[in-house]
């Protein structure tokens, strides 16, 4: 009798919990579905599904290789990636190009080196150990050509974030809700959703572009839409065979792939970290359980009678 009432109560509690979470889920979904502007005309980037999210998250090699192609053909024309080396492209846990591919790729770049034994600087083909070379010799030259220094891309995915505010940020630290992917969420939203026509009556100065993901200063950004360089205004790709692995090229696909690639560039040890982390948690969990059992054994009876010491 007593058991059945407890069971009923439990079921009631579970049902109300589920209803509550469904409601919360529905509200957050409706927020997500509306990639719409908030009161300040700002798009708050939404959480995307990433293969590298979660305890068992791993990068999608094919996606990283596609993202690398976007980075190589488009982004790196202007952006630097000074912390990224060629060799990392063939290391485990990344796009995992073959060593030969990376060697051939590096050799297509001319690297300034020296001085040699005559005291002269010289150029040589790139080697896998070289850092990613930049189009511009220095910041000043980038600024004079582009009007601003584009941010270095190697850490961009960790240097950008989405502030969800109190109390949501607390959940981002909890198991099952954890979120270290705000950077790629932000980059995806910036290039896929942010570029749009400015509000009526607003004049965008030449050399600037309207992007609703950019905070402050009237949502203006100096980077022209990178997708507009690859697609026409109707969303048709300039090069339908851009991806060599047969993946159809769409604006959404390009934005996702390059965001994932930038996350890897910023956090190349993510897979190693998560794999080791799981093992560490399992070990510590077993160890803690054993210690607890020993502790119980040691303390057994201690509070029943005066200790015999």
């Amino acid at each position: 009798m007593k058991f059945t009432t407890t069971w009923k109560r439990l079921r009631l509690a579970a049902a109300s919990l589920m209803t509550a979470s469904l409601l919360v889920g529905a509200t957050s979904l409706s927020v997500a579905a509306a990639t719409k502007l908030n009161a300040e005309g700002l798009i708050i980037p939404q959480r995307q599904n990433w293969s590298f999210a979660g305890v068992f998250g791993r990068y999608d090699r094919a996606q990283l290789q596609r993202g690398f192609k976007v980075f190589h053909d488009v982004c790196s024309q202007c952006h630097a990636a000074s912390h990224l080396t060629f060799r990392e492209l063939s290391e485990p846990g990344g796009p995992e190009f073959t060593k030969a591919q990376v060697k051939a790729l590096a050799a297509t770049y001319k690297i300034k080196d020296g001085p040699n034994d005559q005291g002269e600087m010289f150029t040589r083909p790139g080697k896998p150990s070289d850092p990613w070379p930049w189009t511009f010799p220095n910041d000043e030259s980038a600024k004079s050509a582009l009007g601003a220094v584009p941010p270095d891309m190697s850490l961009l995915a960790k240097a950008r974030t989405v502030e969800y505010g109190f109390p949501y940020f607390l959940a981002e630290g909890l198991p099952f809700f954890e979120d270290e992917e705000q950077g790629p969420d932000y980059i995806y939203a910036l290039i896929k959703q942010g570029y749009m026509d400015p509000p009526k009556g607003m004049k965008v100065p030449s050399g600037l572009y309207y992007n609703a993901v950019i905070q402050g200063s009237n949502h203006l950004i100096k980077m022209p839409s990178p997708l507009a360089m690859m697609f026409d205004s109707a969303g048709k790709p300039n090069d339908p065979k851009f991806y060599t692995d047969g993946t159809p090229i769409t604006e959404d696909q390009v934005a996702r792939d390059v965001s994932a690639f930038l996350m890897w560039a910023a956090e190349p040890k993510l897979e190693q970290r998560k794999r080791m982390g799981f093992n560490v948690l399992v070990f510590l969990g077993v160890f803690a359980t054993l210690l607890y059992l020993v502790k119980r054994k040691v303390w057994a009876g201690v509070h029943d009678a005066p200790p015999s010491v």
């Binding site: 912390h83 198991p175 998560k274 948690l281 803690a288 009678a305 010491v309």
Partner: protein
């Protein structure tokens, strides 16, 4: 550290050595047979957890220093070199950065436990004061450590905090220039912060030894707040507390490991992955979470010097706690009114932290001032008056009475009969 040792070494070499340097006897009396109150709950394991964190921080820190370069042009790159090229460098750095957070989390629990159970009261005032010194050293160490990666938040955090000293009348600007080693935060500042960041943890370790020494003279306080009266009230440190502390440390490590391996940048700030740039001020300069309550206090005062003084006073007030709390009853368990004010104080601290993380507006300024008022009223008015006005509940006659209940106090009770184990989990 509690009187002459009864330790007799088993081996001949041990006896020979003990006559010349009785360090094994010291360890034996301090960590083997040392009598601890038998009713300690799990809040008393945070001393062990903090010792573990100090050792973990020093070990990871010394290893990181082998690869880090304290040079304004190279520091940021050297940290990235650690993350990418050094074997398990990412692990060392994430452990060290999250370790600071865990250290402060544990020290705040440790301090609030002391506050709740009146652990600072006679004869433990010096023990408490040494703790306050450790806390100050920790804050200085953590602040300087956050500057070392030389990201945007490092640089601008250092600028804001060192600028506080310019509030000193007349000499302020000289003092800040002296701290910087120049006319702004720069290479000399980074170098001296690195040097001090390496030095201070060893000073902390020294004061921790004094802290443990001062603990082992009167022994631990306990949840009942009455001193042990007989051997019935205590248990030897080993095996009872070594196993209990060991279990607590491993549980804490699980919590620590979660952040290191799965959300390593949760407590960090994204802007610190942008290299320091003296020409670009970040939209918001926010300190690490453990400094947010003090930051809120600083920003609640509209004038610079009084703001700085109030902020320092909010930390210094801890040193006067043993004399501000006038209650003769130690443990908050037996102080029904104190309990309420205590928990409001905890919420007030969390509230100040929240205000410190927010953009300044009229509402946050007002809320910050209200919370700040309660913070000081709690220490300077409530604690002194409460000791005189509050009627505490009956304090147990002894620790064994508290553990075993009124019946169990009769020592002749047979084993297995009597109250349930009452150790709080």
């Amino acid at each position: 550290m509690s009187g002459p040792s009864t330790y007799v070494p088993k081996s001949a070499f041990g006896r020979w050595f003990e006559q010349r340097l009785p360090i094994m006897g010291l360890m034996h009396s301090s960590f083997i047979v040392f009598p601890n109150p038998r009713n300690l709950n799990y809040f008393w394991t945070f001393g062990g957890i903090l010792s573990f964190m100090l050792v973990a921080q020093i070990l990871t820190g010394v290893t990181l220093a082998m690869h880090y370069v304290p040079d304004a042009r190279l520091a940021f790159n050297s940290v990235e070199h650690i993350m990418r090229d050094v074997n398990y460098g990412w692990l060392l750095r994430y452990m060290h950065a999250n370790g600071a957070t865990m250290f402060f989390l544990a020290v705040y629990i440790h301090m609030l436990r002391g506050l709740y159970y009146g652990s600072y009261k006679a004869p433990r005032e010096v023990l408490w004061l040494l703790g306050v010194i450790i806390f100050l050293l920790m804050m200085a160490t953590a602040f300087m450590g956050y500057v070392l990666p030389w990201g945007q938040m490092s640089f601008w955090g250092a600028t804001v905090i060192t600028n506080l000293f310019s509030a000193i009348p007349v000499f302020g600007n000289y003092v800040t220039a002296w701290l910087w080693g120049g006319f702004s935060v720069g290479d000399p500042t980074l170098n001296r912060f690195f040097s001090l960041h390496y030095l201070l943890p060893f000073m902390i370790a020294g004061v921790v030894i004094l802290h443990i020494w001062a603990l082992h003279v009167p022994g631990s306080n306990n949840p009942a707040g009455v001193e042990p009266k007989s051997s019935k009230d205590t248990l030897p440190f080993h095996p009872y507390f070594t196993i209990k502390d060991g279990f607590a440390v491993v549980v804490f490590m699980i919590f620590f490991a979660w952040f290191v391996f799965f959300v390593p940048n949760f407590f960090g700030h994204a802007d610190n992955y942008n290299p320091a740039n003296p020409l670009v001020t970040p939209q918001e300069i926010v300190p690490e979470w453990y400094f947010l309550p003090y930051y809120a206090i600083l920003r609640s005062i509209p004038y610079k010097l009084p703001g700085v003084l109030t902020m320092f006073a909010s930390i210094a007030v801890f040193a006067f706690l043993p004399w501000l709390d006038t209650s003769r009853v130690r443990s908050g368990t037996y102080r029904p009114v104190f309990k309420v004010f205590f928990w409001v104080f905890v919420l007030c601290g969390i509230g100040l932290g929240y205000i410190g993380s927010q953009r300044v507006s009229d509402a946050t300024i007002l809320a910050g001032r209200l919370l700040l008022t309660y913070y000081f009223v709690f220490f300077l008015v409530i604690l002194p008056l409460l000791g005189l006005l509050e009627t505490p509940r009956q304090v147990p006659a002894s620790i064994s009475a508290a553990v075993l209940g009124a019946k169990g106090a009769a020592a002749a009770m047979p084993r297995g009969v009597g109250a349930e184990p009452s150790v709080k989990g």
